[in-house]
């Protein structure tokens, strides 16, 4: 003899016979499984290291308008004539050198290059990130240019 259908209180058909404590245990088990699964599927984390050169972009660009040599110029090195060009002319045109050696007999300039020409790169950082060429100028005892070389460093 079957029960009348109206005695079933659960609104979901077929679920009326589920044991409540059993259902709670099942839910707990499922929750625990999901938690364990979530822990296990955790992935790798990436670490970003700070850039070695934290200067803002504006500082790394050619310093326009500061001195003639800081503007890109295709004829920047036109003044360099071995046996003729004097130290004063070089310093007036290119500014102070990045480094000197042998009692300022050898001068070094760091140059950048753009489609408009060469420009003197200010030496604020130790690296060569913004430098394209190293200009080496060897002067004689009278301060006249003896030999020079444009070395491509990058």
């Amino acid at each position: 003899m079957e029960r009348p259908r109206e005695e079933i209180h659960c609104p979901i058909e077929g679920a009326a016979t589920v044991n409540k404590p059993l259902l709670a245990r099942t839910r707990r088990s499922t929750t625990a499984s999901l938690l364990a699964f979530a822990v296990l599927v955790a992935g790798c984390a990436t670490v970003d290291q700070p850039s070695p050169d934290p200067r803002p972009l504006a500082e790394t660009e050619p310093q326009l308008g500061k001195a003639p040599a800081y503007r890109p110029d295709p004829h920047l090195l036109g003044l360099l004539r071995d046996g003729e060009t004097k130290r004063e002319e070089i310093v007036l045109q290119l500014g102070p050198p990045a480094r000197t050696m042998e009692n300022e007999r050898v001068l070094f300039y760091r140059l950048g290059q753009s489609p408009q020409g060469y420009f003197v790169q200010e030496t604020r950082s130790e690296g060569w990130a913004d430098v394209r060429h190293s200009l080496v100028l060897v002067l004689d005892e009278q301060g006249v240019l003896q030999r020079h070389s444009l070395v491509n460093v990058r």
């Binding site: 016979t17 589920v18 099942t26 790798c44 130790e126 690296g127 030999r147 460093v153």
Partner: protein, 147 residues
Amino acid sequence: MNLMSTTTFSKRNWFCWSWAGASAVLASCLVSGCVIVPVPVNHHTAASRTNVQTDDILWLVPGQTTREEVLLRLGEPDAVTEDDLSMSYRWEKIRLGLFAAVFAGYGGGSGYSEYARDYTLDLHFDPCGKFERGEVKKSKLTLKRTL
């Protein structure tokens, strides 16, 4: 009779759920892992000069090559002693990449790390400015960046 069979079914259902959960946890544990693939690379870092190589020591002739020749060929050195008798050229190269991937169940992650080596070409000159001796030094690999 009907209730008995329902209870049996519910117990079986609970066992099924339990087994499913335990299996999921076990499967997650079993398929979890980490794969590390070393990638050989050989390129200069962004801030390094690129015009000096370890082979540059080969064209230097002791007692013959002058400091001036070295400077005109290699450019500005990275370090010079006050007496100009010793100078160094430095460069940095990425020599190893490590691709790492972690798998865990349906999830995971991956990353790429680059390891760099510093090189130094130390040159020593006599008081007349002639090349005396030189050596190339290599540092250990150090972590440069992680992507």
